[in-house]
Subunit: 225 residues, 2 copies
DNA sequence: TCAAAAGTGTTCAGGGTACACCCATGG
DNA sequence: CCATGGGTGTACCCTGAACACTTTTGA
């Protein structure tokens, strides 16, 4: 460790995660009420300070693991937020991430323990600090990736119907999609393969179930909606 | 300032800028040889520590202003880099940016004073720390924006020929483009308007000069290559 | 007169979009 | 038997890509 850096300011560094999940077919985000001031009691993204022993990515994974019990989560950095007064409590530079979790697989008890709550995207409460910007930016990134990479499939259960998939695309992209065109593209994506099973819950006729095959995706890289 | 945050680690936070400029028609980046250890003498992006009185964006602008004398520079954040050992001298979280500067307008003396040097992109030296990743990521972002937003025009002199513009696109995107298709699209971009002048330097026949009109761009938003 | 860059339209193929009806079944 | 969601193909348009020759003029 050299002496040169001495004399420059140091800052708290935190991570904040926009965690998306599909709760009862509705796109939701995991929020929490802040446990301390500033902003105690207000809605906040889930986050935490980066420890000296952690990289930014590691810190984000830890925070997510603590809250959901999941270790293998799709996660992307959104960017750094560093306005001077963004956190009135202290100078904190925060790095935002977004994550996609499989709702069925996560540990609801942990969420409760940490005062977390899944909130429907269409009913977002007012968020603390600059979390609204983080949210908006995360959403924008999610949308652009959604059409060209099979990240949306991580939100769905292991087997799913094409109607579920289409509904997911429609909520994320915020626009209706043509059923026949959608299914045509799904058929062209070789990584979406039929399980042979039928889902008999959501319709009388029953809908074919599909699963995502990551190996096939790595091989073909065909995914275009 | 609350006491809650006490007890968490604090870090140095820096900004690092990938500064693109068009030097003699060649796409170049502004680099510097590090003036101190760790990595003294090695090639580095230009950067500096964020001060307590600055936001991240402000710090990036200051660093750029100090080196080029320019205050109104197109700049975009690339992301935060925070591996523990990325800087062996201390724990430093760095936020990368890329910037596009008008080569003719910048202050070369300041560059020299700071040991800066414009290096042709095709002759990039080995860079210090994780600067190669920052560089690669900046380049990737530049490329994706280049086709849909008129950011490339900030690299060119106030008036330019379509050949110059095409050459710029070709170097940034790294592929040849069809001349007729290119010019057709340039004509459709109403924000690229003829000055009425001719450039007689680069060809015997002389080429029509064009300028970029930001107001027209704001109005029409037509720019697609 | 020749070398060097400027300038100019058309054709074709492929992808994206729009669109409507029958099927299977549980209640 | 009917209401509900599942499942299927085609026609058109438009955008993107390929392509070659004439013009101007300084050396």
């Amino acid at each position: 460790m050299t002496d040169y850096y001495k004399g420059y300011g140091q800052f708290y560094v935190s991570v904040d995660c926009v965690v998306f999940g599909l709760n009862e077919g509705r796109l939701s985000v995991l929020l929490t009420r802040r446990a301390f001031d500033p902003g105690q009691g207000r809605w906040s993204l889930i986050g935490g300070f980066v420890r000296p022993t952690e990289s930014l990515d590691t810190a984000a994974h830890r925070v997510l693991s603590e809250l959901t019990g999941l270790d293998d989560i799709y996660m992307q950095q959104v960017g750094a937020f560093g306005e001077i007064e963004r956190d009135p409590g202290a100078r904190v530079v925060s790095v935002a991430y977004y994550a996609l979790v499989n709702f069925d697989a996560h540990d609801r008890r942990k969420v409760e323990e940490h005062n977390g709550a899944w909130v429907d995207l269409s009913e977002l409460p007012e968020l603390v600090f600059d979390h609204p910007q983080m949210m908006a930016e995360a959403m924008a990134r999610l949308r652009t990736r959604f059409l060209t990479e099979p990240i949306g499939l991580t939100l769905l259960p292991a087997s799913f119907t094409l109607s579920q998939l289409q509904a997911l695309f429609e909520t994320v992209l915020g626009r209706p999609m043509d059923k026949r065109n959608f299914r045509k593209r799904a058929m062209e994506a070789t990584c979406i393969e039929p399980t042979g099973e039928k889902d008999r819950l959501s319709s009388k006729r029953g809908a074919a179930l599909y699963r995502f095959n990551p190996e096939v995706y790595e091989r073909d890289r065909k995914f275009k909606f």
